[in-house]
């Protein structure tokens, strides 16, 4: 049940977009049509599901204070956590590259769908944000960390697909000219955020 709780929390209660505004840039830029939004959302789930566990291992076996003691008991006092930003971002950037190459080789159809979005993801704040939240919240095992990664990814996908659907429809509405495009998208996202706040405090 623990896993289910973390998963649902990641999607609804602690939604990356509505609660923390992570990945807003690509969320606003790539949400003009549902099809592309769906592609980017799937790519984010994919990358979060891969990078969070890798960064979890890195955090717990290399960076954290005393994490290196598996190598030699003398290292029990070594604290490399100041390096975590640079390590996480290096892992993310290289994983994105690697995933891109693997997908291109073995799943050309998927590459066609995700291809152009994968490089964008290296600089999507939600990926690094996932790693940093994982570090802050100290999940007890790699399974929970992975579940958290996947859950936040699904939450992000849900948010971008929802806003893209609304933006497709709102094109036919009579929005005041200065609000058209970016302005109304901000306000709608705010309203969706208020709706998502009704999930706050749910304990599963």
């Amino acid at each position: 049940m623990e896993y289910f709780s973390i998963f649902v929390k990641g999607i609804f209660v602690e939604n990356m977009i509505f609660a923390y505004f992570l990945g807003m840039c690509s969320y606003l830029a790539v949400s003009k049509t549902v099809k592309t939004a769906n592609g980017l959302g799937l790519a984010v789930i994919f990358v979060l599901g891969i990078t969070v566990p890798i960064n979890y291992l890195l955090e717990n076996y290399v960076l954290k204070e005393g994490a290196l003691s598996w190598l030699n008991p003398d290292f029990a006092t070594v604290d490399l956590s100041f390096l975590s930003f640079i390590m996480f971002i290096a892992v993310i950037a290289s994983m994105v590259q690697l995933v891109e190459m693997i997908v291109e080789k073995f799943a050309p159809a998927l590459y066609g769908a995700l291809g152009i979005f994968l490089p964008l993801i290296a600089v999507n704040c939600s990926i690094l944000g996932g790693a940093l939240f994982m570090q802050e919240r100290q999940y007890p095992s790699i399974g929970e960390a992975t579940t958290f990664g996947l859950g936040s990814g699904v939450g992000w996908w849900l948010a971008i697909v929802a806003i893209a659907a609304i933006r497709e429809k709102i094109r036919y509405s009579n929005v005041p000219a200065p609000l058209q495009g970016l302005g109304i998208t901000y306000i709608i996202t705010g309203l969706m955020g208020i709706a998502f706040m009704s999930f706050m405090g749910i304990e599963i």
Binding site: A19, F21, A29, I89, C125, L128, P178, L179, G181
Partner: protein
């Protein structure tokens, strides 16, 4: 290309030439990173509950942007095109680590409140965006101006949003080093028999989006050229 290359002694550009002033001024309004270019929004929204956090965040971004722009601009002819993203990320990440350690040492409570968002300056698209669009193709001098201009454009939106949210949400203003100053008399509040109540909605994340939406609304109705169709 000038026609008389032979005699031309390269004319030194003055510090506040028209071009440099434009680099500084444009990002404040017509190409504002947040309201027009859609860059660097994550942090802009998440840390605007209080003014002091917004001030610290703006200063951090200013520092990282100037540093990254100068370094990348100096290295622009050495960085291979294929791996430039990783090189840029490493440069930015190193600068952000400096900021993070300094904040932890001198402003521990604000650093606590900013939590992961200091780290997220690394992926703040405003920095990557300006490196890609400007520093990779320009000399260090203009890059500094571009960095200052864009960081300022980012900062004013952050400051306005956080002032609005803090005044209406907590009835107070806070600055780093001063703590929170409540300027409304205590007996105005409902809890002590008055009529005024803080709008708690303002403290919640969604209102940041609405406030930025309204800033965009005001800005675009003043300058019709910016309206999207």
């Amino acid at each position: 290309m000038s026609t008389d290359n032979s005699v031309a002694t390269p004319k030194r550009e003055s510090l506040f030439s028209k071009k440099n002033r434009r680099l500084l001024k444009d990002p404040l309004s017509d190409s504002n990173p947040i309201t027009i270019q859609v860059l660097g929004i994550c942090s802009a929204l998440a840390i605007t509950v209080q003014l002091q956090q917004a001030v610290i965040m703006s200063l951090s971004v200013l520092f990282v942007m100037i540093g990254a722009n100068v370094i990348v601009s100096l290295l622009r002819n050495l960085i291979p095109d294929r791996i430039r993203i990783i090189v840029q990320l490493v440069i930015i990440a190193s600068l952000v680590i400096i900021v993070d350690e300094v904040l932890k040492a001198y402003q521990p409570d604000i650093s606590e409140k900013l939590s992961v968002f200091v780290g997220l300056i690394i992926t703040n698209c405003i920095i990557m965006g300006r490196l890609e669009a400007f520093a990779l193709a320009n000399k260090p001098g203009p890059s500094v101006f571009d960095a200052i201009g864009n960081a300022m454009g980012y900062a004013w939106v952050l400051l306005v949003v956080s002032i609005v949210r803090e005044i209406f949400g907590s009835g107070a203003i806070s600055l780093p080093g001063m703590g929170q100053v409540k300027f409304l008399p205590q007996d105005w509040f409902v809890s002590s028999g008055g009529l005024y109540e803080n709008n708690n909605l303002m403290i919640l994340p969604p209102m940041a989006l609405v406030v930025v939406g309204i800033i965009i609304w005001i800005q675009r109705s003043r300058n019709e050229a910016l309206i999207e169709d």
